[in-house]
């Protein structure tokens, strides 16, 4: 059965390392739904959060193939490791003219979004949350007129075990 998986990948922070990972997915016909990359506390390593989907055998192959890359240090299937927090951020430039200006702010309030840029005819809204929250905000703002939308893709982290 096809399922969405969030993978956490630690990789050497060297030129070409990201190309190897992306090339692996395109070359073997795997899917990348979203990808988020940045340096870690240790500047010699980069952290990737990669969302993909496939049946069990495909996900197993993806993880093994990633581990086979010489530059890949660690791969964790966050989805299979139990509880985890995931967040995505979106910047949404939404039309905000006389009749809708207050409505946009009301929505922002409900979803705890931030207005990060204002112009006479638009608000740019920053929203952070799970994928479903971001999608809900987009759906509600869409009728008001979204001029531009940028999403970061997902980042995820395992929850610390809460044993007493």
């Amino acid at each position: 059965m096809e399922k969405k998986h969030t993978l956490s990948v630690l990789v050497e922070n060297t030129p070409g390392a990201l190309a190897r990972i992306v090339g692996l997915f395109s070359g073997r016909g795997f899917n990348i739904d979203s990808l988020c990359v940045a340096e870690t506390l240790d500047p010699t390593l980069s952290h990737l959060t990669l969302v993909t989907h496939g049946d069990d055998m495909i996900i197993e192959q993806i993880i093994k193939q990633l581990r086979r890359l010489i530059d890949v240090y660690k791969v964790v299937d966050v989805t299979e490791e139990g509880e985890f927090v995931e967040r995505e951020m979106a910047l949404i430039k939404v039309r905000a003219e006389k009749e809708t200006r207050a409505e946009v702010l009301r929505m922002c309030d409900i979803f705890r979004c931030k207005v990060v840029d204002v112009s006479p005819k638009t608000y740019t809204v920053e929203v952070t949350g799970t994928e479903s929250k971001i999608e809900a905000v987009i759906e509600l703002l869409r009728p008001l007129g979204i001029k531009e939308l940028v999403r970061t893709g997902l980042v995820a982290m395992r929850r610390e075990k809460k044993t007493l």
Partner: protein, 567 residues
């Protein structure tokens, strides 16, 4: 302070420290500095080829026949792109190579400079790893790492791209004692519990098959395979890459399995209740239709590369580790339990009776012909005359399959063949690499009239080096394997499989200063082959075979391996 060395000096010093004594290459602007160093380094024999693809295949042939890392050196741009087929060939068959490519000076990278190409980008999907060295200080470590990565774990080709200014810059030479990579630690030692599970499956089995792949050869596990088979009376079948991993003449050998495997090997696998696969990756040419592959069998899969396991077929007991060590551990468990040999023999008695029925029903065979030379007959004669002791390279196609079927390989590293990529033009340069590494051994290249023409320019290389290789051309005037598919599955529409012009191979041999021989009738085969084998020089033997002879048995692509077309 130690004296400083140039990048080029470091490269040559690194090759010496890695024990490299033969390299294959072709010079150019971006590697002149390295060639200048080689000029002063008699310890390293440089073989000047005629095309860079030939250099990679020759290095590959050296690697396959010796187990060492093959090395080649080429220039930037076209020199580098010409190596790609050879690199991909080695990658698919897990052959350790280090490919050194020149690159334009670091300042010019990205400028579309003369003879610039992004070779690390191009070869990323077909190398085990590759490097672009941007600082001379990184050079020694990178070269040592390249050899380390190429030969350890599941071996493979590693490319090192060397900008010209890095070759010219100077630094102190620091040779690392060992290479430690936090992100690369192949697992050699198998999990004991998994090995015990495998043993329990063997004890419970009544119809087991031992499936030997190329991993047996690269890990040197052939003795353990034989010991296991003989101790337990196991039938053994081999993939193309596994031929020689278990003696082909052994009474327990079922020969090769798969698309052109023997009837009895495919029937045994299809009816087995346990497959112990060692260093094989269940390629589509082996499994046929995957859903119909060994439906009743539990599968134990030993491989050093976890990605090979559970990739194509469901595996019941995965064992990640070195084939040699895993089999050694399995043998330990067998001895510890100490079940009498008689019990094993009895356990598989009925199974062997069934296999013997299959063997008698459809042995490997062909119809002899008094008019036309049969290719299978040529291979049988070659086997007989060489007593099975030659190192045999093949090209790709019918010539390759007839060789795999009719030459019995008893020892590992004696068959050199492009199994995974199926590279026409591989065999001849590979035979050059093998003959360079084994000057006293008999080296053959079994070719077709199509594939020999793909790297025929290397005849000059073989002549340069005075290599007495025997090239046996099974000349049917067709691209025979494609023709066979067209005959069987495309209503004999022979589209683009016949060359209007085929060179006179005897004259061609003569033009290069080699010896050309020809056989056109069955009775000429033996004397001509004998003459070729007695000749101490490069020989091209042009054998005109039955033009429409096919390779059988054959499992049509995508069908179950039991649906064989027999002779």
């Amino acid at each position: 302070m130690a004296t400083k060395m140039t990048g080029a000096q470091i490269i040559v010093e690194a090759l010496k420290r890695e024990g490299v004594d033969i390299i294959f290459g072709y010079p150019g602007g971006a590697v002149i500095d390295i060639y200048d160093e080689l000029y002063r380094t008699p310890e390293i024999k440089h073989v000047l080829v005629r095309h860079e693809q030939g250099a990679t295949h020759a290095a590959d042939g050296l690697a396959r026949s010796t187990g060492k890392v093959g090395v080649c050196l080429v220039t930037s741009g076209p020199g580098a792109t010409n190596t790609v087929t050879g690199i991909a060939t080695a990658y698919m068959d897990s052959i350790p190579l280090v490919v050194l490519t020149g690159q334009v000076p670091t300042k010019l990278i990205g400028n579309d400079a003369f003879q610039e190409v992004d070779i690390t980008g191009i070869t990323r999907p077909c190398t085990k790893h590759n490097f672009l060295v941007k600082r001379v200080e990184d050079l020694a470590w990178t070269l040592k790492a390249a050899f380390h990565i190429a030969r350890t774990g599941r071996p493979g080709p590693v490319l090192v791209d060397l900008p010209k200014d890095v070759q010219q810059a100077k630094t102190e030479f620091v040779w690392p004692e060992e290479i430690k990579l936090r992100s690369y630690n192949p697992v050699y030692e198998p999990h004991r519990k998994q090995v015990e599970k495998a043993y329990r499956l063997l004890e419970a089995s009544t119809r087991p098959v031992l499936l030997v792949g190329g991993g047996v050869i690269s890990s040197g596990a052939h003795e353990e395979v034989r010991e296991l088979a003989e101790l337990l009376h196991l039938p053994v079948t081999m993939t193309l890459m596994g031929l020689g991993g278990f003696p082909g003449t052994h009474e327990y050998s079922l020969g090769m399995l798969g698309m052109h495997g023997t009837y009895y090997a495919n029937m045994a696998v299809a009816n087995s209740d346990l497959i112990i696969a060692v260093g094989a990756r269940f390629d589509d040419r082996v499994t046929g239709k995957v859903d119909a592959f060994a439906p009743m069998a539990k599968i134990v899969h030993i491989d050093i590369d976890p990605t090979s396991i559970q990739k194509n077929v469901r595996v019941d007991v995965p064992i990640v580790g070195d084939c040699k060590r895993a089999l050694a551990r399995l043998l330990e468990v067998i001895r510890e339990v100490g079940r009498p040999a008689k019990l094993w023999k009895e356990q598989f008695k009925e199974w062997w009776e069934q296999i013997d029925i299959w063997k008698r029903r459809y042995p490997l065979s062909y119809k002899q012909d008094s008019e036309h030379i049969k290719p299978q007959f040529v291979i049988e004669k070659l086997y007989e005359l060489t007593k099975g002791e030659a190192i045999v390279a093949t090209e790709v196609g019918q010539n390759q399959m007839w060789t795999a079927q009719f030459y019995k390989f008893d020892r590992p590293r004696t068959l050199l063949s492009s199994g995974g990529l199926g590279t026409m033009g591989y065999g001849f340069p590979a035979s050059i690499g093998a003959q360079m590494a084994h000057p006293d051994k008999l080296v053959l290249d079994i070719a077709g009239d199509g594939s020999i023409q793909m790297n025929i320019q290397e005849m000059a290389t073989a002549m340069d080096q005075k290599l007495p290789i025997k090239v046996i051309i099974l000349n049917n005037g067709y691209l025979g394997m494609v023709r066979q598919w067209q005959e069987l599955f495309y209503d004999r529409r022979y589209s683009a499989v016949q060359f209007a012009t085929i060179p006179d191979f005897v004259k061609l041999a003569d033009a290069y200063g080699a010896v050309g021989l020809r056989a056109t009738k069955p009775e000429e085969v033996e004397p001509v082959l004998k003459k070729a084998l007695e000749t101490n020089s490069l020989v091209l033997v042009d054998i005109h075979i039955a033009p429409e002879e096919g390779v059988f048995p054959m499992v049509p692509a995508g069908r179950a391996t039991t649906e064989m077309i027999l002779v």
